[in-house]
């Protein structure tokens, strides 16, 4: 019988326990804060606070684990879980996380303890792995998330440091948005060679890596490209391929074959490619929207090179933009159904279009179709400094709404204020339900836009005015679970749960939404910021940046 190993690690986080516990108590939240976790969901779609719930999750290397919540206490602020399935022999692994308030300084003392029974010869390696890569890495991530610059020695701070609660919202087409987060991968390593993806590997690519990597922003419609894309047969294009589910490092640069368009299809040469969180879920296999080996990406701008039979709204030479299934945008060129590919007006540049189309169309239907906001209405917008949150704030304030935004930190509060929030609530400083009551004289808000999900859903309902409308459009912090419809009668509330696909699948409707979005861009109502333009070959780096939440604005890939 092997001996039992016990681990006990503890740290202090610079944020009040009220800010941290809502995150930790959600058994599905680890993908949003722990760097080792690429994606996670609770089996059977249950909530993350049901004792007995099983979370199934992936690490950055693609390995899969299952853990069960066996105890949870809001009184002790403690949760205990055990490992059901893992690729490592962590036998009988049971772990407990517990938070205790540090009243002197408004901080939180966090302990993470476990016991397990590893094989004797692996005890040391496994103990170190769990201690360093799970516990200590988790501590560092929480400290970074809750705005702690350094750690370790030094007298305890007496000031209450603002802390984060929910993360930026994700809006995911056609699928339930799970918690955000992602693996931490080794930096650097751009792809070094090209191979061909064409059934079998019958061809080794000739495109030299340095040409591609060093290309930076390409000259639009370079003669070479025209020549290549004018072909009536299949052409070759450089693309990023996910050969198997996994971390950012699995993505490979390959040369793929792009067939001529069939009936109803267009072939597009991309000029700018949008990078979205859903691409990461595709890469990890969390969403089965991509079956390896395949090219990820669902948003891009470009030029139509060929149009298939029956395509009436597009011709070769047209500038276009799209945000839809199927995947395949991380490529120099692709062939796809023309239905949801929209013409791009001359005065909207490719990069802006690629950076904003998915989020912008979402904001359009959230503000004009799911709820038709009117001047004078008061809105509460969660994650107001997030990608879609900022768009909603800018657009709604321009429409004459009073916008109250919630953010996780002081730093983000400034972004939200710039985006047009009349008032910004910092989660760590104030409970948002109480803040809304204070800001509205107890009346509540007309509409809540909630892409955060589990952490905010109940509070969002409380923050509504009578006959208010809760638009729950995402669940970045975990699923919202089930609710009692009868309780809505307390204020005649309405809840909407829109799905991107249902609002954007009709090309006529989509055209109207795109036009309104372009008009908003022209008038400067929304002002998307592009944080980074990376060569297509650096897609892995783009994913790492998105996963690390280092960016505020969008990232676009330039083929």
């Amino acid at each position: 019988m092997s001996r039992v190993v016990r681990l006990s690690e503890s740290t202090v986080i610079d944020a009040p326990i009220e800010a941290i516990w809502p995150l930790i108590r959600d058994f599905n939240s680890h993908a949003t804060w722990h760097p080792a976790i690429a994606a996670s969901r609770i089996e059977a779609g249950e909530a993350g606070d049901i004792v007995g719930a099983v979370r199934v999750f992936q690490l950055g290397d693609g390995s899969r684990l299952r853990e069960q919540l066996i105890a949870l206490s809001d009184r002790e602020r403690q949760l205990t879980y055990c490992l059901l399935e893992a690729p490592l022999p962590l036998m009988d692994y049971v772990a407990t996380m517990r938070l205790r308030p540090v009243t002197e300084g408004g901080r939180t003392f966090l302990t993470w303890e476990s016991r397990f029974r590893p094989p004797e010869d692996q005890a040391e390696r496994l103990s170190r792995l769990v201690r360093d890569d799970i516990y200590r890495a988790g501590f560092r991530a929480l400290q970074a998330r809750f705005g702690q610059a350094g750690m370790g020695a030094g007298p305890p701070a007496l000031a209450i440091v603002p802390a984060a609660t929910p993360m930026a919202s994700t809006f995911v087409p056609h699928a339930e948005a799970p918690a955000e987060g992602g693996p931490r991968s080794t930096p650097g390593n751009s792809p070094a060679h090209w191979t061909v993806l064409r059934g079998g590997a019958d061809y080794v690519g000739t495109a030299p890596q340095d040409e591609f990597v060093g290309m930076g922003r390409p000259v639009p419609s370079a003669p070479r490209s025209t020549e290549r894309f004018a072909s009536s047969g299949a052409i070759e294009a450089r693309a990023i391929v996910v050969p198997r589910y996994g971390g950012a490092e699995v993505m490979e640069a390959r040369v793929v074959s792009v067939p001529p368009p069939g009936p109803g299809e267009v072939r597009i040469r991309h000029t700018a490619i949008g990078v979205n969180f859903i691409d990461i879920y595709c890469r990890t296999g969390f969403f089965r929207l991509l079956t390896p080996p395949d090219v990820p990406g669902m948003e891009a701008a470009g030029i139509v090179t060929d149009a298939g039979e029956g395509v009436a709204h597009l011709r070769p030479g047209d500038r276009v933009v799209y945000a839809c299934e199927p995947v395949g945008a991380y490529a120099e060129a692709r062939t796809m159904a023309a239905t949801l590919v929209m013409p791009l007006p001359d005065d909207i540049d490719d990069e802006t279009a690629a950076a904003i189309f998915l989020k912008g169309v979402s904001a359009e239907f959230l503000l004009h179709r799911v709820h038709r906001v009117e001047a004078g209405e008061t809105l509460l917008i969660h994650a107001a400094a997030g990608g879609i949150g900022m768009l909603l704030c800018e657009w709604a304030s321009a429409l004459g709404c009073r916008v109250i935004g919630t953010v996780s930190s002081e730093a983000k509060a400034a972004h939200a204020a710039r985006a047009g929030c009349a008032e910004v609530i910092v989660h760590a400083r104030e409970d948002f339900v109480a803040a809304v009551a204070r800001l509205t004289g107890g009346r509540g808000v007309d509409v809540v836009y909630d892409g955060v999900g589990a952490e905010t859903f109940a509070g969002s309902l409380k923050a509504l005015a009578e006959r208010g409308h809760l638009v729950s459009f995402g669940q970045a912090s975990g699923p919202v679970g089930s609710s009692d419809i009868g309780a809505l009668a307390a204020k005649s509330a309405t809840i909407s749960r829109p799905n991107f696909g249902h609002y954007t699948a009709d090309p006529v409707l989509l055209r109207g939404m795109a036009e309104r979005l372009f008009e908003a861009l022209r008038r400067g109502v929304i002002r998307p910021t592009i944080d980074a333009r990376l060569p297509l070959a650096e897609a892995a780096e783009a994913h790492r940046r998105l996963e690390s939440r280092a960016n505020i604005g969008a990232i676009v890939l330039i083929p």
């Binding site: 202090v12 002197e104 020695a153 030094g154 007298p155 305890p156």
Partner: protein, 146 residues
């Protein structure tokens, strides 16, 4: 029951802080509110059931009985037998936890007691702020590194 909960991080290893505070007769050595102290009937200060009898800076006297002491958990639990505060069934626990990250300590001092509702806020403030918080801050100052 009124409750008091005060905690702080002290910049020294738990074992080092524990050496100072485990002495049930050692309050005047670190707690600003306490002056002299003795253990009644010549008992040892780590004998469970012993009674400490100490003076407060404002002149009052308190008698407290040691209910539990754990060198394993770094914790101490005691009750008040007599005090000028007018509390009933007062039980307090002082406990230390190691903070492995930075080799520091987390100190938690809690109490529960009964009292007339009208006096609760005043007593919670007196015990929590003047006594417990004063003690934890004194520990922080004493163990400041660098």
């Amino acid at each position: 029951m009124a409750k008091v909960f005060v905690s702080a991080v002290v910049d020294a290893p738990a074992a080092e802080v524990w050496t100072l505070i485990r002495d049930f007769n050692g309050l005047p050595g670190w707690l600003p509110a306490a002056t002299e102290s003795r253990i009644e009937q010549n008992a040892r200060p780590d004998q469970i059931g012993c009674v400490r009898n100490f003076s407060l800076r404002d002149g009052g006297r308190i008698r407290e009985r040691l209910l539990g002491l754990s060198d394993f958990d770094f914790s101490m639990t005691y009750e008040i037998l007599e005090s000028p505060m007018g509390v009933e069934d007062y039980v307090a626990t002082l406990r230390l936890f190691p903070v492995t990250d930075g080799d520091r300590s987390y100190v938690e001092w809690t109490a529960e007691f009964g009292c007339p509702p009208a006096r609760e806020a005043e007593l919670v403030n007196l015990i929590g702020r003047n006594v417990f918080l004063g003690g934890l801050r004194a520990l922080q100052t004493r163990f400041t590194r660098r």
